[in-house]
């Protein structure tokens, strides 16, 4: 059931108990986990954290750790699947699920005893009415009831009334079934995202008056990661930012500096409009412009004309080319300070209207100054780094560590990894476009990352493949500007595991949809296509539009998909 008082119905229930914490592999989940950990440390609540990458992980982790366990908290996992059916838990086990995946599985919504959904009261779930979807038992009994009260020995008298009533009853039942069918179809058709888990957890911390600047920064990072992965639209992001800004000013209002000077290594968070250029503070402005989807695609940097336009843009800004190729921190001070304003003014002339986005910036100690976008990018890169032999759980733990200030230097590796990843993405987009690999199959576009290309190992990771997908779609649509292609979604596949010939398949909603709430219907579509063709697919990821498939079945799977979406 949906919880409305997160403190009474969740935190006070687990205050003296031991908790199993199952956390999914994404930045928002990591941030929510850090906030919850901080609360548990205050109240000496013992817990166990296990990273879960998909449904199989979830099942295995639950079975292994559930001995003598009553309380399981799940972050960004388990909300959109039928949990009770998957895990078959004991009677006394209670699941507290804080999951931003939508729609929430109806069995989870209507299960009062064992599944409690921790949600932001502001979200709208457009839940169907209870009676429409759940057949309540006593109306069934009526039918069977009247059959049983007549002694079977005596021959039943046929009279019109009972026959009439029975017919009426059956018709109403069928009508109800059809109605349920339609409601369920509408409810499940699109998968999308609600409020970030880290915001829900921060809200809990605030209600327990245990919120600190550290927790606030984790909430900001979680929210920013949703923006980067295009999981929420700009409007939702801005409203969440204003909400968080109230807390930021509460925690970070400063009297004038000399009256009560703050020690240098205490954490200061400030609200700041930030350029949506990937890691530009840790890169050169030139490279950052080339590796940010919004600028690269709008200026069409894939073409020679585009590159010339980039130089024009820089000139218009008044930034010498040499300076723009300098490492940002090494640029002359006078450029570095006002490049942001110059860029914003001349961006309008080049069709880059919403280049900047409201964001936050943290500073502690002398050398640590990060903006939320950088941190979110870095942590995501650490989670999905490919050039180490570390297992998924080890990467998870490392990413979890780098969020706390004591291990902040791990963030630097994350920044480098992110740069490599972004370079891999841009090169891949460039080659897809040059070799006309983005093909329209009628109802959708598709592109296959060929096997063996140097950067292809990046795309064996779901988030990175989705980034590539969004980047490619935006580049393709803005490059060719065909009216028809503008509203087409894109399906991208990349080689996952060479030995057993599997590849990763990702569905990206059409561009206009991407700007808004990025509703994605591929989850359902993939399921039906796989069923129809019996192709060996694994729908393990909590994001329904990410599927693992045997590469041989790809062609028949795509045919089914085409006929399905006609």
């Amino acid at each position: 059931m949906l919880i409305n008082d997160i403190r009474l119905q969740f935190y006070d229930k687990i205050i003296h108990k031991r908790v199993l914490l199952l956390v999914s592999h994404d930045v928002d989940a990591l941030c929510a986990c850090k906030i919850l950990q901080a609360l548990f440390h205050c109240d000496h609540i013992q817990y166990t954290i296990v990273a879960v990458a998909g449904k199989q992980d979830l099942e295995r982790a639950f079975l292994e750790h559930s001995e003598q366990l009553e309380f399981v908290v799940m972050i960004n996992c388990g909300g959109n699947i039928d949990l009770i059916e998957l895990l078959q838990p004991e009677e006394n086990v209670v699941f507290y699920i804080c999951d931003s995946h939508r729609p929430i599985h109806l069995n989870n919504v209507f299960n009062d005893s064992q599944v409690k959904m921790l949600v932001n009261s502001g979200d709208e779930f457009n839940l169907p009415a209870y009676e429409d979807v759940i057949r309540n038992e006593e109306s069934d009994e009526d039918d069977s009831g009247n059959e049983s009260d007549e002694p079977s020995g005596k021959r039943r008298r046929f009279d019109e009334a009972t026959l009439e009533r029975k017919m009426e009853k059956r018709r109403k039942r069928r009508e109800w079934e059809q109605n349920k069918e339609r409601i369920m179809y509408d409810y499940d058709e699109f998968s999308f995202y609600g409020t970030a888990a880290s915001l829900v957890m921060y809200d809990l911390a605030w209600k327990l008056s245990k919120d600190t600047n550290d927790l606030l920064w984790w909430a900001i990072t979680g929210l920013t990661s949703q923006l980067i992965a295009k999981r929420i639209d700009r409007e939702k992001y801005v409203s969440d930012v204003t909400e968080l800004n109230r807390h930021v000013s509460r925690h970070n209002h400063r009297g004038n500096e000399d009256e009560c000077p703050l020690s240098v290594n205490s954490m200061k968070i400030s609200f700041v409009p930030e350029l949506q250029l990937t890691l530009y503070k840790h890169w050169s402005l030139f490279e950052s412009l080339r590796h940010s989807a919004y600028t690269a695609c709008t200026l069409k940097l894939w073409t020679l004309k585009g590159q010339k336009k980039l130089n024009e843009f820089l000139a218009d800004m008044g930034l010498p080319l040499a300076q723009s190729k300098q490492k940002f921190s090494a640029m002359d001070v006078e450029f570095k300070d006002n490049v942001k304003d110059w860029l914003e003014t001349s961006a309008k002339k080049f069709g880059l209207d919403n280049i900047s986005v409201p964001s936050f910036q943290v500073q502690f100690g002398f050398k640590h100054k990060y903006c939320a976008l950088d941190v979110a990018f870095a942590v995501d890169a650490l989670l999905e780094s490919v050039n180490t032999s570390k297992s998924a759980e080890e990467r998870f733990m490392e990413a979890l560590d780098c969020l706390s200030r004591t291990y902040i230097d791990k963030l630097e590796d994350g920044l480098d990894l992110c740069k490599q990843q972004m370079m891999g993405v841009v090169n891949q987009v460039q080659s897809l476009l040059d070799m006309k690999k983005v093909v329209s199959a009628g109802p959708f576009l598709y592109a296959f990352v060929p096997d063996g290309t140097p950067g292809s190992k990046f795309f064996s990771r779901p988030n990175c493949l989705m980034t590539l997908g969004r980047f490619t779609l935006e580049a393709y649509v803005k490059l060719y500007n065909r009216r028809k292609a503008r509203n087409l979604p894109l399906v991208v596949t990349a080689p996952l595991d060479f030995e057993n010939g599997t590849s990763l398949v990702v569905g990206i909603p059409p561009l206009p949809e991407l700007e808004q709430a990025s509703r994605n219907f591929f989850g359902k579509a993939f399921e039906q296509a796989a069923e129809k063709t019996g192709s060996r697919t694994l729908h393990d990821n909590f994001e329904p539009s990410v599927v693992i498939m045997r590469t041989e079945d790809r062609s028949k799977f795509f045919d089914a998909l085409i006929s399905l979406l006609q």
């Binding site: 950990q37 440390h41 013992q46 166990t48 750790h65 001995e67 998870f396 733990m397 004591t406 291990y407």
Partner: protein, 196 residues
């Protein structure tokens, strides 16, 4: 030159990495002992001959020379044994009464006997403190907080906590447990303490 073999034993210990025990140099010790008996016999012979000759104090110098070499060898041998016992003792405090195999087979038979004797007398001493005894190998650092965050480096299976609940220590899982319970596991390298 006399005493070089003995010094070699000492240098062997000096070169050994911190906290590791090099193999017991059985024949190194035997050679030094042989050298001492040779020196001793020569001294005996000289002393006999010197008493019969008069005024040959130069002989005395040779006797003094060999005597100094004998003392040097004695000191090196005993220091070799003594320092190995120190390392072995440190192991008892570090690993408890069961030693890891790579250390065990570097020890001579007498050394492992000594280890068992030491381990037993230490255990009985600790048991004699207060009613239920006090494990001195615990609480090596001043406790700062009651519960600590630990990460599991190797699968360890089930672990019963003080209040009777079971924790499954699986590789890469992270837990928040009582410090006093984690300490032995941290020292054995199963858990790693994480600073929050």
């Amino acid at each position: 030159m006399y005493g070089d073999k003995a010094l070699e034993l000492i240098l062997e210990l000096k070169r050994a990495a911190e906290g590791s025990l090099p193999p017991y140099n059985e024949d190194g010790i035997r050679q030094v002992l042989e050298e001492t008996s040779v020196l001793y016999d020569q001294n005996q012979a000289d002393v006999l001959r010197e008493s019969s000759m008069t005024g040959a104090e130069s002989l005395l110098s040779a006797v003094q020379f060999r005597h100094t070499c004998l003392e040097r060898n004695q000191r090196c041998l005993l220091a070799y044994l003594h320092n190995r016992l120190e390392i072995i003792k440190e192991m008892r405090w570090e690993f408890g009464s069961v030693l890891p195999p790579d250390i065990k087979n570097n020890m001579s038979e007498q050394e492992s006997q000594w280890f068992n004797k030491y381990s037993k007398s230490l255990a009985s001493y600790m048991r004699s403190l207060g009613e239920e005894g006090l494990d001195l190998t615990q609480d090596r650092k001043p406790p700062k907080n009651l519960f600590i965050q630990v990460r599991c480096l190797r699968d360890f299976g089930e672990f019963e906590t003080e209040d009777g609940s079971m924790v499954v220590l699986k590789k890469n899982s992270q837990h928040f447990l009582l410090r006093s319970q984690c300490e032995p596991l941290i020292r054995q390298g199963i858990l790693e303490h994480i600073l929050s």
